[in-house]
Every structure is written in C-alpha cells, then in structure tokens.
C-alpha cells in the first residue's frame, strides 16, 4: 500500500446553503407561527374572562398586591388625599363590583395601573407632575374605565401570554430582545382602543364630579411639551397612546357631547 497525499474534500461537513437563506426561513416561519399562537392565546383569554365573573375576581384579589411595587408608608398624606378623591369619584360608578383600593408606587416613572381586584397603583413620579385635582381625577377615572371594560384582566392575560412567549423564545436563547419587542408591539396595538375607551369613561366621571371637564388633558399637554424627562416618557408611552393623539381625541369627545371645557379648578394640596 502506498501513501497517496490528498487534500481534504470540501462540502462534506459544511452545508452549501447560504446562512442568510436559513436565517430568513427561520425568522419568517417562526414569526408566523408565534403570531398564530399569540392570537390563539389572546382569544383564549377572552373566553376565560367569561368564566371569571367580576364578583369572583373582586373577592379573589381582595387584598392582593403585586410584589414588584414599592409602596409608601400607610400614613403618607398623599395616600389620604388619593383615597378621598377616589371615594368621591367612585360614587359616579355605583354599579362597580369592586371596592377600590389605591397604592402609591414609590418610583420615578410616570404611570398609573389598574390591577385585578379594584387596585389602582399610581407612581410617585406621576403625582409629582400633577398640578390640580382635576388632572388627578381624570387619571383615576381613566383607570376606573379600565375596570369597567375589564381591561385589567385582559392585560393580566396578555401578561401571561407575553411571559409564555418570552419563556419559549429565551428558552432557546435566541434573539430574546427582538422577539419580546415584536410580541409587545403587537399586543400594544390591541390595547390602544382600550385606552381610548377608558379615556371616555374617565372623562364622563370627571364631568359628573366637577360639572365640567376642564384641565382633564392638561397633564398630557404638559408632558408632551416637556422634553426633559425622556426616559420617564418612554415608559409611559410604552403602555399609553401618545399625548398628542390623546388630547385631540379628548377634545373631540368633549365637543361632541357639548361638555363644558372650562370651569373652576380644584387645587391639589399635599
């Protein structure tokens, strides 16, 4: 036997397919698959809502508090004020099955949330930016609108959907950021309509309490004009419509109903 030197053969251990072809097929195919799964899961959330009546939900989450919020001391003066405003507003929503609760999240971000069991959480960063009670009333009314539409339960369901998708994508260690952003954006489009309808509900509550809707949207005009706090605004925008569109929609709504947009403003004192 003789030794015959040969060069290693090419094309056995390495696929000929261009990596971009594989990337494209995988991204498009899996994106499509995930979209179908998300739509199916959202549909199931809607179905599940029928099986959890509001009374049951209110009882179930009666004293529930999410773990990731940093509450302020129960003696905080702001909490008293919030509770009294909330109580006055809730008289205009008598059919509510919830006993509303309110907590302050001691965070710099600007946000307000409606959570299961009638819990409203507002951030300290948001309270700092408020100038009149009317602005506060609109924000609380808006959150009540979410309860009225049961958006908070949908949001909870969507949260579960997002975490399932997150687990599926990150479990494989692939493009986690991208996958989550796409899922988040797709679901955010869904919640825009809910925000608008909660806005309408809030405006109605404010009208009944004060007899006018003046100053309801001044808060949004202000944060729109301010461009200093970009990080805070980004968090706010991630779950709410942009202030511009929102103010326009509110003015149209008030105009269409002939609601007075001027009146006496109640100062906020804390």
């Amino acid at each position: 036997m003789n030794f015959e030197p040969r060069a290693p053969r090419e094309g056995i251990n390495v696929s000929k397919e261009h990596p971009l072809v594989e990337a494209g097929t995988l991204i498009v195919g899996l994106g499509f698959l995930f979209a179908i799964i998300v739509v199916a899961l959202i549909f199931m959330v809607e179905i599940a809502l029928y099986f959890v009546p509001e009374e049951k939900e209110a009882a179930l989450f009666e004293s529930w508090l999410p773990e990731d919020i940093l509450t302020v001391s129960p003696d905080d003066a702001r909490l008293d004020k919030l509770e009294s405003v909330l109580w006055r507003l809730s008289r205009h929503y008598p059919e509510s099955p919830y006993k509303f609760r309110i907590e302050i999240d001691d965070s710099e971000e600007m946000n307000a949330m409606a959570l299961p069991g009638g819990l409203i959480v507002v951030t300290a960063g948001l309270l700092e930016k408020l100038e009149t009670e009317n602005e506060l009333a609109f924000i609380l009314g808006h959150e009540m609108g979410h309860f009225s539409n049961r958006d908070h339960m949908r949001a909870l369901g969507r949260g579960v959907v997002i975490s399932i998708m997150f687990a599926a994508i990150s479990g494989s260690g692939a493009g986690t950021e991208l996958g989550v952003s796409i899922t988040d954006l797709a679901l955010r489009g869904f919640s825009r309509g809910q925000e608008a309808s909660a806005d309408e509900f809030g405006l109605g509550i404010v009208l009944q309490e004060y007899g006018h809707v003046a100053d309801s949207w001044r808060f949004f005009e202000r944060i729109d004009a301010e461009d200093g706090d970009i990080a805070g605004l980004l968090t706010y925008l991630s779950t709410h419509p942009s202030p511009d569109d929102r103010v326009d929609a509110l003015i149209n709504k008030a105009g269409a109903n002939g609601w007075s947009i001027s009146g006496e403003l109640t100062p906020i004192d804390w």
Partner: protein
C-alpha cells in the same frame, strides 16, 4: 406616531437588528478569511502524512517519536447564536455551526501537523480529536463561551537509508 415613539421603536428593534447584521458581516468576513488561510496552509502541508493508524508498517525504521498536539478554541458570533437558537425550537441541522466546527477541526489538525513538520518529523500517526465545551459562568444563565478542539497524535521520524 411622535418622535419619542420613534426613538423607542428604534431602540427596541433597530439595536438588536443592527447587532445581528453587524455580527453577520464581521463573522462571515472572518470565516471566509480563515477558510482561505486554512486552505493555503493545507496546500503547503500537502504530502505530509497525517494518519489515524495506531500501528506502524513493520518495515518502517523509526528514529524517534514524540507526542504532538494542536489546540484551538472557537466561539460563536451573535448571528450564529441567534439562528442556532431559532433552529433549536424546531430542530434539524444546525447549519450555522457546521463551518465553525469544520474550521476548528482543520485548524487544530494544521497546528498539530505544522508543529510536527517544523520539528523535523516525517509523519503523524494515531491522530485523535477531542472536543470540550467551555462554559461561560458570568451572567445568570449558563451559556457556551466556546468550543475547544484538540488534535493530538504521535509524530514519527523515519530512518533515512
């Protein structure tokens, strides 16, 4: 859509996409360059026997032996990692890893053979390949920092007569 939203959109989508494209371009450039170099070196070593035989032909007169080894550690780029991650959801050939491991094998063999030739040996016999995974312990999840490829064999010097 206002400016803020555009910024947030760009941060959420643009950045990972930019990293993906960037790492693909850089990664495939490095890969092509490496393959070119490997082929050139393989050509230079053409005719130098590298075999997996454990036993030597009886008529060979051996003047000296030595253990020679070649070792290389390769890592993935972000693009390969993402695509392989997507692949792992549905299964199948992880095609993006194939050139990487091919490079590692050939590079390790070349280093071994080159070192044997440099030291005046005539052939490398009983060649074996070993791989081991280098884990990255930083961060919460355990991830692969790279793969080590080790080629080793017995270099033999033949009696010249």
């Amino acid at each position: 859509m206002d400016d803020m939203e555009k910024v947030s959109l760009a941060l959420n989508f643009g950045l990972p996409l930019l990293i993906l494209i960037g790492t693909y371009l850089i990664g495939s450039y490095i890969e092509k360059k490496h393959f070119r170099k490997i082929k050139k070196r393989e050509k230079a070593l053409h005719g130098f026997p590298v075999t997996t035989f454990a036993a030597m032909p009886s008529k060979w007169q051996v003047a000296g032996v030595e253990l020679v080894s070649g070792n290389v550690v390769v890592s993935l780029d972000y693009f390969k990692r993402v695509i392989a991650g997507l692949r792992s959801i549905i299964g199948g050939r992880v095609k993006t890893y194939e050139p990487l491991l091919d490079r590692a094998r050939r590079e390790a063999m070349l280093r071994m053979a080159e070192s044997a030739k440099k030291r005046g040996y005539d052939a490398v016999m009983n060649v074996r390949l070993e791989t081991s995974r280098l884990a990255n312990t930083s961060g919460k999840r355990e991830s692969v920092a790279g793969v080590e490829m080790l080629a080793f064999g017995t270099a033999v010097k033949l009696e010249k007569n």
